[in-house]
Amino acid sequence: MTAPDPLVRAVEAILFAATEPLTADAIRAHVGEGANVRAALDRLAADYAGRGVELVRRGDRWHFQTAADMAHLLRRDREEPRRLSRAGTETLAIVAYHEPVTRAEIEAIRGVQISKGTIDVLMEAGWVRPAGRREVPGRPLLYATTPAFLAHFGLASRRDLPGLEDLRAAGLLDPLDLALEMQADTNEVVKRSEQD
C-alpha cells in the first residue's frame, strides 16, 4: 500500500475501531467539520479493493468486512447465525420488498395470520423497525427495514434487493388492495354459505 494522507489514515482507523457501520457524518464528528470524508472513503475503498478485507457501503453507512470469497476459511468453528423460520424469512422479504407495510398487509400476502413473535424476532435481530402509522382508520403500525438489515445482507441499498426490478415489472409489488379485496370476497362467501 502507498502511505495515505492523514485524513485517509484517520477515517481508516475510525472505521476499524467502530463497532458498527458509520455514516459520513458520524466519521466527520471524529475528524472535524469540513473534512472531505467522502473523498477519503472513496480512496480507502480503492485501496482495499481486492484485499482480504474490504470497505463496503450499506445504505448511507460504511464498514470494513472480510472479503466474501474468504468465507470458507473463516466459517470454521463459528456458529451459524440463528436460522430464521420460514414465516420469519417470508415476513422479512415482504417487509423489505413492500416497505413500509402493515401487519395486515403481510398477512394478506402470506394468506395466514402471523404470530406475534415473528415480527418480534425480526426487530430483535435489528432488521425491522416500526416506521410510523398508516393514516387510515385504526392507524395501523407500519414496518420497514433498518440500516442493519442492509449491512447484514450485504445490500448497498434497497435497490440491490435481489429480483426487485423483475418483481416490480411483473406487478407483484403493486399495492395490496387486490389481495385484500380477495380476502373480503372470501369472507363474503363464508357468510353466504353460512346462510344457506
Partner: protein, 242 residues
Amino acid sequence: MTEPETLTLDLDGWEGPLDLLLALARNQKVNLREISILALVDQYLAFIEQAREIRLELAADYLVMAAWLAYLKSGLLLPRDPEVEPSPEDLALRLQLRLERLNAMRDVGARLMARDRIGRDVFARGSPEGLRTMRKTLWQAEIFDLIAAYGRISARTRPVMHIVADRPVMTLEAALDRVARLVGSTVDWAVIESFLPDGASDLFRKSALASSFLAALELARQGRVELQQASPFAPLYLRALR
C-alpha cells in the same frame, strides 16, 4: 402430483391454505402463470376431503378456502352469468396473482438468506477498539439565578425584623375611658357608633369601633352597662346600669 396421503401426513407443515395451494400449484410443474386453476381447485378439495375422511381436525381457514374454491369452481363451470360481479375468471386471476405474490416473496426470501451475510460469510472486525463519546456537561446558570438564590437564602435564614407601619389606632384603654365617660352622660339607649369620635379617618374609625365594642363587652362584664341587639349585625345599643 404428490399423493394426497403424503399431504395429509404433512398437514402441520402448511402455513395456511394459501401455502397449501401454492404447494399444489407448484406440483403442476409449470410456470405459475399457466397453472390450471380448475385442476388446482380439484386437488385442494380432494385433499380437504381426504383429511375429513381420516377425521383430521382442520382449521377453519382451510374449510373457508374450500368453500370459496367450490364456489369458484361452480362459477367457472356453469354458463356465465353476466350479472355476477366479479366474474369467476377475475376471481381465478386474483387467486393466481396471490399465489404468484406469495411464491415471489418465498423466492426472494430464500435469495436474501443465501447472500453473503455478516457473521456467516463475511465478518466484521473481531475485536474493534470501539469509538467513545465523552459526554461533557455544560453547566448553565444565569446571574439572575445566582442573585435570586442568594436572596432566597437570606430570606430563609436571616433573623427577620418585621416593621409595622404606624397606623392611627384607638387602644382598648382609651376606648374604655371614652365609652365609660360618654355612657354615663346619657340615660337612654345609645347606638355604639355614637360613642366614636367625630371626623376620624376611616381607618381610625374602624379601630375605634373595634376597641369600643371590646370596651362595651368589658363594661357589661363589670356590670356597668347593659347591651341590646335585635339580631346579628343589627345596631348594638348600650345604656348605663344604675
